[in-house]
């Protein structure tokens, strides 16, 4: 394959082509779903191919992608990518450009502890069926599912600057959910929440303690049917890691994607309140808030030695001591902003265009345990397990509902509340952060399902966080 890609690059080298790159990926995917204790879906695709060719001509990118890797298809894609760039340049005001990078060569082969594609099917199904049986409908539990998604992706990248990379990674997404119902009311609980994916194989089910939490989610779903809603107008809230990962994702991650500043994602994903003039001066959060993008950490789904336009993996501070100091960029946008590219250009599959994407976007840990943080909270709520999320076009106004809230009184959890909902304005919210737990509570929380771009893509990415506390947050939404 390496030679095949080099041959394509050789064909793309011509005076009219300023820059070009080629990606090829092969993806295995397996999806297993048990519903109400029964196997509802077992589907598989093996070694699904994809190729994407991108060329920069006359200051405009053209792209062509396909699942067909035949020689005839490749010739057609080269021609189409060039035609697309040439036609695109006819409707253009400012030609696109960026500085050349030195060539980089990289090879990374990830090996999970338990390869989900190589392990015995019986062992895999037995485990999942056992889980499904443990949460199947009974009494007030009226619906349940156990879902597992396994992915292996091998990817090759090469560009006309001479860079080349070859990587293989395994990703797993495990999830279980129960719905309780009584007298027209329904409530649900999941484990371990919607940011449950990881750079791992089947071992992720064991590490996330699925078997140990089946009784907990059934009991909590049933208890929620009779739980009150929050009666406070404002309250201090401690947000658990799984949900804080999504709060970070929506109100910092997407907001600091620089393609949004220039309107490249307006029609679907939206804009951002962040402007280039804010860099270095804007107080995004409190002094204890440090947020960085780190594509060099192989524990997260966002790891890469080289991004999808040839920039080596980097760790970049986005927010330092509460101040916005950088953004997630492409080579072109970094050049326009006078920044170094942050290595955030990623495509879901080789036949997708690369977009500015979160990789491993993390909040640096603070100090202390979750237990200590709860103990130091006089009155508030500990919220986790995302139920509803929504944020505006500019990533400024958000509203989240979690599946459950744990009421804290005098430093102790005393009861639960249903559908706890809080809302706020992004900078005000992050400036209200007065405590972040320490390294011992810090972990990656990851997703397979970050939607962005047109044509649509879903990205696998991670957030490293520890639970954190936010003061005086609006928790009253009139329904």
């Amino acid at each position: 394959m390496q030679q095949k890609i080099k041959d394509i690059i050789a064909k793309l080298q011509s005076p009219e082509v300023t820059f070009a790159d080629v990606r090829v990926s092969f993806t295995d995917f397996e999806n297993i779903t048990f519903v109400n204790g029964n196997l509802r879906n077992f589907s598989s695709s093996k070694s699904s191919p994809a190729i994407g060719i991108r060329v920069l001509i006359n200051g405009c990118f053209g792209f062509a992608g396909s699942k067909d890797l035949s020689e005839a298809s490749i010739e057609r894609l080269i021609k189409r990518a060039k035609d697309n760039a040439i036609h695109g340049a006819m409707f253009q005001k400012a030609p696109l450009s960026f500085p050349t990078l030195s060539p980089t060569f990289a090879d990374y082969q990830h090996n999970p502890e338990i390869d989900p594609f190589a392990m015995s099917k019986e062992e895999k199904l037995d485990y999942l069926q056992k889980l499904a049986q443990m949460i199947k409908p009974e009494g007030k539990i009226v619906h349940s599912y156990v879902a597992a998604e396994f992915e292996r992706q091998e990817k090759f990248y090469a560009n006309t600057e001479g860079s080349f990379s070859h990587t293989t990674v395994y990703n797993t997404l495990p999830l279980m959910n129960v719905i309780a119902s009584e007298a027209g009311q329904t409530q649900s609980r999941t484990w371990p929440g919607h940011m449950s994916a990881g750079r791992a194989g089947f071992e992720l089910f064991h590490k996330q303690n699925f078997l140990e939490n089946t009784e907990r989610i059934k009991k909590e779903a049933i208890d929620l049917l009779k739980a009150p809603v929050i009666s406070d107008t404002t309250a201090d809230i401690i947000i658990g890691g799984g949900h804080l990962a999504l709060q970070l994702h929506e109100s910092v991650g997407h907001a600091t994607e620089a393609d949004r500043i220039f309107g490249q994602e307006i029609s679907y994903a939206g804009k951002t309140f962040v402007k280039p003039s804010m860099l270095g001066i804007f107080k995004y959060g409190s002094d204890i808030l440090n947020i960085y993008s780190d594509s060099t950490d192989p524990r997260g789904l966002g790891y890469h030695p080289l991004d999808d336009e040839g920039v080596p993996g980097r760790r970049v501070d986005i927010i330092k001591d509460g101040i916005l100091v950088n953004q997630q960029t492409s080579r072109h946008i970094a050049h326009m902003l006078g920044l170094e590219p942050s290595s955030n250009m990623k495509a879901s599959f080789a036949d997708d265009i690369p977009l500015v994407r979160m990789t491993n976007l993390c909040i640096a840990p603070g100090k202390g345990s979750l237990e200590e943080l709860i103990a130091s909270t006089e009155h508030g709520y500990y919220l986790d397990f995302t139920k509803t999320w929504s944020i505006d076009d500019n990533r400024n106004n958000f509203q989240f509902t979690t599946e459950i809230g744990y009421k804290i009184e005098n430093g102790k959890i005393t009861s639960i509340v249903k559908e706890p909902t809080y809302f706020g304005i992004t900078p005000k919210f992050w400036n209200s952060c007065d405590a972040i737990c320490g390294e011992e509570e810090w972990a990656y929380h990851s997703t397979f399902h970050c939607g962005k771009g047109e044509p649509g893509q879903v990205m696998r990415l991670s957030h490293g966080v520890a639970p954190a506390r936010f003061k005086n947050i609006n928790v009253s939404v009139k329904m």
């Binding site: 077992f42 409707f91 505006d392």
Partner: protein, 442 residues
């Protein structure tokens, strides 16, 4: 063209103990992304995929093959046959689809070929010139797709269909204030696109956007919902009309079949045959996709149900999935509706809606692409984007007036997969719409 599908069919027919559904999808897109009144990317993509679901008694296994060939098919089938006996049963599975009816053939152009890149660029350049006179620039997408599919199953179904959606989304954004307005065109026949009407509609919105920007307090407002908003609320409402939602005890419509749920002037159908819409010939599994009354004169009439849930829940099957939602128009003109509002809002478009409790139809979301203040029957200001927290059932209960004509609205669904669909809806006047906070931004 379908030699790989027929190769797979022949291989499966050697196993009479199996039931199967196989389908081939061939898909192409020609996708122009633009920003700041210039090209961002021209993208071409294509794919050929063969999918197969095998059933042995009550055991089921599925596989998909991109860019198939006989060797890949042999390998995937061998693995499937090797695994299927070891799988646990799904006791609710009974049979694959047996609806033999064929949809009438539609005359369709391949719009990728019919609308050249030069023509797209000419249209966008012309619109950009008009917008620039008001210091607005254009952002958006101009998309043409071509899609062909053929489905064969062990009950003798052999059904082919094709579609070629066009989607033009133009957002005009003011260079200084960032005020944004939206105009779209969608369908499968470009003869319905008239650039001068499109330009006139866009320019009217740009003129409204020249009003001052204000903020409003949370509270209940009388609102005029643009057709796009009403259609999107209806699409979310339709979640509860699916048999799968009923099965999960998450449906608002549980125990409400043939019950009056909305005012009698509310009629919602799922209709794939309107020539202005993006058509759909067959539903999931191959059942013919025909017009289905969902809400008729305010009365809930039907759950959307496929073969699987037909057997499991005993509901009539219909193959519908709310891909072609139409809301019947009413009697008022838009100007009459706006002039009857003392103080309220005109909402152009919605953003990032998500259910809080689907059974109660409660959700939150935001306004986008032009929210306007109406005072004494006139649009007087642009309003910052607003958050609402509502029950969709309550929104439809509170509709007091519908416009006397419906517009066709395309939707580009980019979450998880790229897909273009359409809906039809009139403007609606709604009382007591619950605004819960302001975004403080445009």
């Amino acid at each position: 063209m379908h030699e790989n599908l027929l190769y797979l069919k022949a291989a499966l027919e050697k196993h009479p103990e199996l039931k199967f559904v196989i389908n081939q999808e061939d898909w192409q897109t020609d996708f122009l992304r633009f920003y700041q009144s210039q090209t961002n990317y021209n993208i071409s993509k294509d794919n050929c995929n063969v999918g197969c679901s095998l059933y042995k008694d009550k055991k089921q296994f599925s596989f998909g093959i991109d860019s198939p060939d006989p060797q890949k098919i042999d390998n995937a089938l061998a693995e499937a046959l090797n695994i299927i006996d070891s799988l646990p049963d799904d006791p609710d599975f009974v049979d694959v689809e047996d609806d033999q009816r064929l949809a009438p053939q539609r005359q369709l152009s391949n719009n990728i070929e019919a609308i050249s890149l030069e023509r797209k660029t000419d249209i966008l350049s012309s619109l950009a010139k008009s917008a620039a006179e008001h210091d607005f620039e254009l952002y958006g997408t101009f998309i043409c797709n071509y899609y062909k599919s053929r489905l064969i199953n062990s009950n003798g179904l052999d059904k082919s269909s094709k579609s070629s959606p066009i989607y033009l989304e133009v957002k005009a954004v003011h260079n200084k204030s960032q005020i944004t307005v939206l105009e779209t065109f969608g369908g499968e026949d470009f003869k319905y696109f008239e650039i001068e009407s499109f330009r006139a509609a866009l320019m009217a919105k740009i003129l409204n956007a020249s009003n001052p920007v204000v903020d409003v307090e949370p509270g209940e407002y009388e609102v005029i919902l643009a057709p796009r908003c009403l259609a999107e609320f209806a699409q979310y409402l339709c979640y509860g009309m699916s048999a799968s939602a009923l099965d999960q005890h998450s449906s608002f419509f549980e125990d409400k079949l043939n019950t009056k749920v909305f005012p009698e002037f509310i009629t919602i159908t799922d209709d794939p045959q309107d020539p202005r819409m993006i058509g759909r010939d067959y539903g999931y599994g191959g059942h013919i996709y025909k017009e289905l009354k969902l809400i008729e004169n305010g009365v809930f009439k039907a759950f959307m149900c496929d073969q699987y849930y037909h057997h499991k829940l005993g509901l009539p099957k219909n193959g519908n999935s709310a891909s072609c939602v139409k809301i019947a128009p009413g009697n008022a003109t838009l100007s009459q509706m706006i002039s009857s509002v003392k103080k309220g809002l005109y909402i152009s478009s919605l953003h990032y809606m998500n259910f809080i409790n689907p059974r109660q139809t409660s959700l939150t979301g935001l306004t986008r692409d032009g929210t306007f203040l109406i005072e004494d029957g006139k649009i007087t200001a642009v309003v910052n984007n607003l958050r609402f927290t509502e029950r969709i059932s309550r929104i439809f209960e509170n509709v007091t007036e519908l416009e006397n004509k419906a517009a066709t609205i395309p939707f580009s669904d980019n979450y998880e997969s790229f897909h273009v669909s359409s809906a039809q809806a009139p403007h609606a006047k709604v009382t007591g719409f619950n605004i819960t906070s302001s975004t403080k931004t445009i």
